[in-house]
Structure formats: structure tokens, C-alpha cells
Amino acid sequence: MSAERPGGRLRTGLAGVREAFGAPGLILAASFLGFGSLVRESDLSVWVGLATTVLVWALPGQVVMVETYAVGASLLVVAAAVALTNARLLPMTVTLLPWLRRPGTPAWKLYLAGHFVAVTAWANSMRIVPTLPEHQRLVWFFSFAATLWLMSIAGTAVGFFLAGAVPQPVTLALVFLNPVYFLLLLIGDLTQRPRTVALVAGAVLGPVFHLIDPDWGLLLTGLVAGTVGFAAGRGRPGTAATARVEPADD
């Protein structure tokens, strides 16, 4: 971070934009290529795909939405599966917002900032925002997160059109992008017993429950395997105290 002068809002904003073009932002944009391709291959329009990235902007929930919709799940199941996948945004918002709030900050700015809490934006902001002077934090966060958001929207559009323009093996690879990306993120983050158990149980139950009932399968996988993992960590002193908030999975 460069040293900021009074009135250096533009400079702060540009620093946020520059940060967004680092490795995490580029990986994020690439992962949205996969989402755009998935949207096309699920026979949804580019407008639906773009609206999803604009309004939801949390990749795991978006992929869950498209996949549950594609298997013909009811609206209730889609809503519950997306809500559970994205409920992790609540603790993330709770931990980030105190760093952005100052006396006199209008509430609408904070509620708008809430929309920009997603894993990549959150993880990098938690690292950088506390190092900034208080008056620069909100400006930096908005410029950083909104740039990531715009990159994600662009990635969605490019992925959609690429999937229709490239040879079939490349389209396959693009659709393959999200499962591989999530897989590496999930296993790269296996440090706690409850989440490890939840992950293994989920990986086993996911296909099994899907074969039994494609509509409810994914939702039940999350609830059953997640509760099993959670129970596996109960009664073990220190688990809650060492629990990390960040789920590094999108």
C-alpha cells in the first residue's frame, strides 16, 4: 500500500483496483469462465447467467443453483440449497463489517458493502483492510470488491460465449473447471476434523443421494453429511475455540 495523503480517495480507490488484478482476482475471473460455460451447457440464457453473477455473486451458491435447477429440483429445494451454501456469508460479513464501520458511516453504504462480501473479496480484505487508515477502508473495500465483481461478470459472459465457440473438448474442460476448482479449494483447507468428516461424508453421499432422489439429494447430502461432521467435532475441547471462520471455498 502506498502512503495516502488527505483527500487521496482516488489514490485509495486505484490501490483497491490494482489489488483486484492480482492472482486471487485472476483465479476468481477464471472460475467464472467455468460458471458461464456451465450456464450455457445447462440451456440457460446469457442474461440469466449474468443476472446470477450480478445479484448473487458467490460462486458455490451459483453453481448449486444452476445444478439443482438443471436436475429439475423444486424452487423450495433450490432456495434451501443455495441458502445453506451461502449462509457462510453471514459470519464472514460479521467479521469484516466492524473494520469498515466508522461513526457517521451511513447504513446504506454498509448494506451495500454487504453485497460485496464473497470469499475471495473477504479473505483478501481481512488481510489488507486492517492495515489501512480508518478513513480509507470503505473506499478501498468498495473499489477492490467491485472490481472483482466486474471481473466475475465479464468472466461469466466470456465463459458463456467461449463454450459455444470452441471445440467440444475445450467446452468440456471449461465445464470441468468448477468441480476441479472447488475440489482443490476444499482439500487444500482440510485442517479441522469436523469439516474433514463433513467433506468425506458429503463426497460419498452426494452421488448416492442423487441416485435415490435427484430433487432432494443434494440438500439432504449437505444436511446429513454436515451434521455428521459437526457431531464428530462435538465434545472435543478446543474445537470451537480454534474454529476458523473462513471457508476458503470459492
Binding site: A30, V78, P91, G202, G217, T221, G226
Partner: protein, 109 residues
Amino acid sequence: MTEAWIPWIVVLIAAAVTYFSRGLGVLAGGRIDPSGPLFEWVSCVAYALLAGLVSRMILLPQGPLADAPLAVRLAGVAVALVAFYASGRNLLAGIGAGLVCLALLTILV
């Protein structure tokens, strides 16, 4: 679900339930403990759901990925994992290697 407006309802519902978590997080501010048992459970459910989805997308894919044989998909995953760890957990290296492997094997097989 063939009518054109249904995907839009799905998107709006997804957006609403997603913003619900974010908005509640803003509202709660620092007044709730994000390391408590409720959030640990939520986190476990999210992990399990995502793991279940990834596993299903690889083993029982819908759409075009079903055209690639299971062995090819598993080879892609294996190559991604090897490249990920061999590169010191570099995500781009892992993803890139897995995708290239899948595309090449699809052409060859």
C-alpha cells in the same frame, strides 16, 4: 420447468436468500459470535453440500461432461491433484493441468 420466466424466478430467489445472509451479517454487526456452534454447523453443512456436488458433478455429470468417459474425468481429477501438490498448492497449476488433461484425453480416447 420449460417456461422462460422460471429461471428468472430461480435467480431472484437465489439472490434473495443470499443477500439475507449478508444483510443479517451487517445488521448483527459485532453482536454475535461467528465462532459459535451454530456457525460451525452451518459451515459443515456448506462443506458437505459442496463436496457432494463436486463428487456428483465428477461421477454423475449432467450435460456435456457426461460425454467424457468416467476414466477420463477421474484422470483429469488425478492430474489436477498431482499438479496442485507438486506445485506447492498452486491453484492455477492444478486447475490448468487437470483441464488440459481432460481436453487432451477427450480428443485421444
